[in-house]
């Protein structure tokens, strides 16, 4: 028989009072743990969303870059290498070059080790009359891209036109009613329609593409071309691009000239960079939004949690006063028997301490479960966030310290009143 025995018996006897106190501690610690868990769930969730967004942005950027490369090609090429004697005026007036240079130039260029150009597309272009269809068209002979042998190989920007086939611009196949797979004669030779382009709103709509070899034979220009399109000139330092490329090409191919097609390329490079910047800005905005939301929630928790804790502390204090009132005679007789004030204090404060420790442990568990549940309700699916990651030993320690401190502080005044109670007054009244 000792004081601890009396303590245990009293808790069991007035279990409702103890349970109510325990509930208050559980609510207080639960709200603290729950708020911290909820903030953690939110952080995990938003981080996950951010990561997904960043990953998605990167993927989109990669696709966009590829599409931009192709878009650049569709509209025009970055640089055009022409014979030196080609008049630029005639080129713009006629829509295609009128001078020729050896096809071997492109091989020389590819093998030269030029560093500023990735692909070369040799073409033979000529405005002709299509006698079979009674149309004037631009005929382009292309043999597909010749890769720079000194650069990393990349996916070709332009698919080569297979021998024996023809690719038609919109204006041609639309007006002639031709479809892919149809047979068509050009300058006496039969071709199969390989591709029909969508409307581009340019001279491409009235252009027909065939294999370079066929074009050379039909135009009687064997071994000759009249333009080399230099693709994917490195655009990182566009302002210095042309002089460098021109200088490099002139050294490799004397007797040629280089025309800049870079204005649009530059615009697109800028657009591409802007898209990238916009994507990054979107991620940044998301981060900022997350930080703002977190601040709001932290502020909310910073107000709500202390309020709940104060309310619970008051509730525990009231329960303590109630307990002292119920045990008035019991305390008086104990004092009469010789219990010291500190032993009475011990009886009360131990009870509050047990209440705090037990309530703290339950509160942590309840807070974790409730916080996670609320997290799911507020954030949606939180699959991938293991329950274990939400459990923080520091948080456990904080709650385990906070709870007993809260209960002991709340119960201190009632315990003091009990210890200071004058037994004579109570016993005389009884």
């Amino acid at each position: 028989m000792n004081i601890r025995h009396i303590l245990t018996k009293e808790i069991l006897y007035r279990w409702r009072n103890f349970a109510l106190g325990l509930f208050a501690v559980t609510v207080a610690v639960g709200s603290l743990t729950g708020a911290l868990t909820l903030l953690k769930v939110h952080e995990f969730q938003t981080q996950k969303i951010l990561n997904e967004k960043e990953e998605e942005t990167e993927k989109k950027m990669a696709i966009l870059k590829d599409e931009m490369r192709k878009a650049t090609l569709k509209l025009s090429f970055n640089l055009l290498i022409l014979p030196e004697e080609q008049s630029i005026r005639d080129l713009h007036m006629n829509g295609c070059p009128s001078e020729y240079m050896p096809e071997e130039y492109v091989t020389r260029l590819a093998e030269s080790g030029i560093v500023l150009v990735r692909h070369f597309l040799p073409t033979l272009q000529q405005k002709i009359k299509w006698p079979e269809k009674k149309r004037t068209i631009t005929l382009v002979g292309a043999r597909g891209e010749v890769p720079n042998l000194h650069k990393d190989p990349r996916k070709p920007l332009v698919e080569p036109v297979p021998p024996g086939t023809i690719v038609l611009g919109y204006g041609l196949h639309h007006s002639l009613g031709l479809q892919v797979g149809d047979k068509v004669k050009l300058l006496g030779r039969e071709f199969t329609v390989h591709k029909c382009y969508e409307e581009r709103g340019s001279k491409d709509d009235f252009t027909a593409w065939i294999h370079l070899r066929a074009a050379q034979e039909l135009l009687k220009k064997e071994g000759m071309i009249n333009a080399i399109l230099a693709l994917e000139c490195l655009c990182a330092q566009v302002e210095d691009l042309l002089p460098k490329v021109r200088n490099e090409i002139e050294q490799i191919l004397p007797g040629t000239q280089v025309i800049e097609k870079g204005t649009k390329a530059l615009a697109r490079a800028e657009a591409r960079a802007r898209v990238g910047q916009e994507a990054k800005a979107a991620v940044e905005r998301e981060k900022q939004h997350r930080d703002e939301m977190r601040s709001e929630r932290e502020l909310f928790a910073a107000i709500l949690v202390p309020l709940v804790m104060v309310a619970c502390a008051m509730w525990i204090g009231l329960l303590g006063f109630n307990n002292v009132r119920d045990r008035k005679t019991e305390i008086a007789i104990q004092r009469a028997m010789g219990f010291r004030a500190r032993q009475i204090m011990f009886l009360f404060l131990s009870k509050f301490l047990i209440m705090g420790l037990l309530g703290g442990a339950i509160g942590i568990f309840a807070g974790l479960v409730f916080g996670r549940w609320l997290g799911i309700a507020m954030e949606g699916d939180i699959v991938g966030i293991a329950a274990g990651t939400l459990f923080d030993p520091g948080q456990l320690l904080l709650a385990l310290i906070t709870a007993p401190v809260l209960t002991v502080i709340s119960g201190w005044i009632p315990a003091m009143i009990a210890a200071q109670q004058d037994p004579a007054v109570v016993l005389r009244e009884k």
């Binding site: 000792n2 019991e330 219990f339 010291r340 037994p423 016993l427 009884k430």
Partner: protein, 223 residues
């Protein structure tokens, strides 16, 4: 050889109410020797309980001196006075004042927590047997009859083998048979060298007393 266990010398206790002052006991003097059973009789409101509480070192008198075994408990610190009380005094009250959630055995053993006496469990079992509570050892307050409650309270008062038992109307709530058991137990305690100081308005206790005193309006009446 008899010695004075309780000496009350000219004590006065005044209660202060908002409107007036009440002299609950007024210059009362008495003594209880070892082996004596002193009964103080008096009507309700005569100051009996105040006298008992004052004598029991629970209520500081405004004037006068209390000596228990030659020591003035009011000269001791609160903690030392509590210890002194646990060792020297046993209390019995009309309302029993048992702790409701403890069993008969636990209630009897409660004062022994404070003195850490040896063989207390055996002593408690002996008292339980003596007061006919063997069948009620593990019963709590709600499961006891009035007589069993008071016998438990009596056993609790005896457990630390005090020098002095202070009893306030111990038979007030009991039937004749249980009242007799209680009074005879107290008388037996006095016969074995203990001192009993009992306050009551019931005159039947007087026949067991070695001395009977009368209190009226806070003053001892000289008969």
């Amino acid at each position: 050889m008899r010695c004075i266990v309780l000496k009350v010398e000219n004590i006065t206790k005044i209660y202060h109410t908002p409107n007036k002052q009440v002299r609950a006991i007024d210059e009362v003097s008495l003594h209880v020797d070892s082996g004596e059973f002193v009964v103080v009789e008096g009507p309700s409101g005569s100051g009996k309980s105040t006298l008992l509480l004052t004598a029991g070192s629970l209520l500081t008198p405004d004037e006068g001196l209390i000596l228990i075994d030659g020591k003035n408990p009011y000269a001791l610190s609160s903690n030392k006075r509590a210890k002194f009380r646990a060792e020297k005094i046993g209390f019995v009250f009309q309302q029993f004042h048992l702790i409701p959630y403890l069993s008969v055995l636990e209630n009897i053993l409660t004062p022994s927590i404070l003195t850490k006496g040896e063989n207390t469990h055996e002593d408690a079992m002996q008292l339980i047997g003596r007061f006919g509570l063997t069948e009620r050892v593990h019963h709590v307050l709600a499961e006891l009859s009035t007589g069993e409650r008071q016998r438990t309270a009596l056993a609790r008062a005896f457990i630390n083998s005090p020098n002095l038992i202070l009893a306030d109307e111990p038979t007030g709530n009991l039937d004749r048979e249980n009242a007799k058991i209680v009074i005879e137990s107290l008388a037996e305690f006095a016969n074995t060298g203990g001192s009993v100081f009992l306050v009551t308005h019931d005159t039947s206790a007087a026949k067991y007393a070695t001395r009977t005193l009368h209190l009226e309006n806070g003053r001892m009446r000289n008969d």
